[in-house]
Amino acid sequence: MFRNILIISLLIVASISQPVNADTSKVIATGGATTIEGAAGGGIVPWAVINGYASSDQWSVTAMSTQVSVDDFTLHAVGASLSIDNRFELSLAKQTFDLDTMGGKLGQDIIGIKYKLVGELLYSSLPQISLGMQYKRVDDFAIPQAVGARNDWGLDIYLAASKVYFDAIAGRNLVTNLTLRATKANQTGLLGFGTAADNDYHLQAEASIALLLTDNFAVGYEYKQKPNQLGFAKEDDWQDIFAAWFINKHLSLVGAYADLGSIAGFEQQNGWYLSIEGTL
């Protein structure tokens, strides 16, 4: 129900685009998409870009709804963000992870902040570099605790570097991103944080590459390294190939094919990712 309301409101926002268009200045697609964790980025990797189209002395809000359907699980994520000055981003996300085959569900809430430290995505030889934090809390600790998680909340800290190379391949612009994340999360936090034996942060690398075939249509690939801490089942890195269509500065769609590896003993979890985002 909440998802439907969100989607309808996104479409309304998109349809009244013209009068608001004059208020934000960033070039189309430079706000990126929104990850399932709520931060601007690709689909699973947060980038150094600040969400939306607000440039200096401007603000922007976004709302997104995403579904990832793999063999035995379905992830729903809804989120919203506020960006100020193309410098600061505050995001909220709610994830629900349906255990389609096993029955039951997991979930978590994520509050994220991101601050641009240095560089400009399009204009500086240095990449744009941002520091981000994500506070995550699981909805119900019963299942994560039963499989060995130590905490029902965790804090991810990441440093992301993003840069656009103009005229890079076949005259097209190339978007590159590298993110280093310190995390204790099991399956990004859906299965809690840490274990009885291991309460250390793990440093993980995440990367994205995307080619803008046109000004507003990109195809790309993402890889997300993840810790493998829980004894009950193996956890794999995630990857996906995606296509992103920035229909205008107020509406974008991302479709992807995702490989989420082994989850809770279910092997080779592959499937489709679909995300809709509205921006003001």
Binding site: S25, Y123, S124, F166, D167, G171, D215
Partner: protein, 143 residues
């Protein structure tokens, strides 16, 4: 089997010839922008777009548009390898005291992209020009 292999080798060599033929066409960025006539039209569309944007038009309140237009055409010609000589001030000196913000710069980039599209400049030529202009951000903004 051998025939199939030959067929693919032939196809590959053919593609190479075709693609190298394309690459050998002597088109500089200046020519891809339409030479002097094309750059003049791009500049006129760009100036029209700027003049209609109330976010930034105030920056041009004290600008002599005729001189500005001529300098812009010279500059785009020089940057794109057209053999012109840009006579104007450096990008840094030309923007001293104008307090150009990132939002101003972003808006101007948007209008330039629109002007290039209006003149049907190819996406590769557009991106090649942006590659040359984008680093000027440092010299143009915030001083």
């Amino acid at each position: 089997m051998l025939n199939t292999k030959r067929y693919f080798i032939g196809l590959f060599v053919g593609l190479l010839l075709v693609s190298s033929g394309c690459a050998n066409q002597p088109t500089t960025l200046y020519e891809q922008l339409g030479g002097n006539a094309g750059i003049s039209q791009i500049t006129d569309d760009f100036l029209l777009n700027l003049s209609q944007d109330k976010r930034i038009v105030n920056h041009f309140a004290h600008t002599d548009i005729d001189i500005f237009r001529q300098r812009l055409i010279e500059h785009l010609c020089e940057v794109s390898g057209g053999g012109c000589h840009y006579e104007g001030a450096s990008m840094f000196d030309a923007h001293i005291g104008l307090h150009i913000s990132q939002a101003d710069f972003d808006a101007v980039v948007g209008h330039l992209i629109s002007a290039l599209k209006q003149q049907n400049v190819s996406i590769s030529a557009r991106n090649a020009l942006l590659a040359k202009l984008a680093p000027m951000y440092q010299d143009i903004t915030y001083h």
